[in-house]
Amino acid sequence: MYQFEYHKPTSLAEALGLLAEDADAKLLAGGQTLIPTLRQRLVSPSALIDLAGVPELTGIGRSGELLSIGAMSRYAEIIESPMVRAIIPSLSRTVEVVGDPLVRNRGTIGGSLANNDPTADLTAAVLALDATVVTDRRSISADAFFVDLFETALEPGEILVRIEFPRPSRSAYIKFRNPASRYALVGVFVAEVAGRVRVAVTGAGPKVFRELMFEEALQRKFSPEAVKDLEVSASGLSSDLHASAEYRANLISVLARRAVSAALNEPSHGI
């Protein structure tokens, strides 16, 4: 690792000030991606601004009909939250398949979203559930947040504060896991929110995306049969040593069917 300065602000205002002063500083959330990246010397920030002491970024709660999760909520906290499990059980189950239990004890939802890894799980949940990303200065819809490979709508100097999820009427996430990395080779999150079906696919392309053909079919009839005969084009999908684009295209169909079945079998959303 290269040398860097370390700051641990105790308020959002202080964190924003530190970030504004130093264009080469990086925010440190759970560190489960950033620290391995630093160790490989793939990044060399001038300073790390550790967000672990910023109270505005913590806490899980309800605001009206929305479930609000602070950006610095660690995966383990989200899994253990009875409120998350009661309002959006599929979100609890998605977080349960992120990384491994040790990673889940440190990693944060905000860190994952800001990193926008093309094979992350939470990105699919946020996009399918039509969540809103709230920063220090604005609200960003999930559709606008994920811009490109490892790129989000966050501007330099902007800090992700919390994520607000509407309650879906039904939803499920199915992940086909790369057994070595534990990232999604492909993952499909299906949700029905405010009467609209949304299908988000992670792992298959340069960033998480919606599969509109599936959404239209499921909007007409929410059943596995509705998407059975739909073929996904491999064009634009990722192809690497783990899987070809054609393999990933086929997985999207298979996992979408399974996710719809799982969503239909899910116990009704409580509270």
């Binding site: 440190l28 489960q32 630093l38 160790r39 040790l102 990673v103 440190r106």
Partner: protein, 157 residues
Amino acid sequence: MPDVTITVNGQRETRAVETRTLLVHFLREQLRLTGTHVGCDTSQCGACVVHLDGRSVKSCTILAVQADGAEVTTIEGIGTEEKLHPMQEAFRQHHGLQCGFCTPGMIMRAIDLVDRDPDADEKTVRHQLEGNFCRCTGYQNIVAAILAGAIAMRNQT
């Protein structure tokens, strides 16, 4: 270099560290607690697992400065040579190791998972060990040891 104060195995330790010092290197090189191992250097293997404020974490993926003010328990802090922790004793009885390199991380992870889920069944134990690699045993005796250790820990309290 900033000073950090970390309570390690019940003892407050204050040392000057570089900001880039990893917790595992703080433990091994500055405190000479070499029971915590570095297995992979890529945050994958779990040989470096310690408890940070009561949760099992990879000490190679945390900076020492991040642990300032925290409580850390390492493999050295759970038992003595005369009286092993019940989970250590279970690993011995069930031969839950071959070369032993992954064992400290396995035991620290096992204690945390049993603390949180005392009735964990075999499937749960295997699932909860996903972050700990053993390249010798095929995990069979490790899982047997953890299931036995869980019973021993229950009986102890």
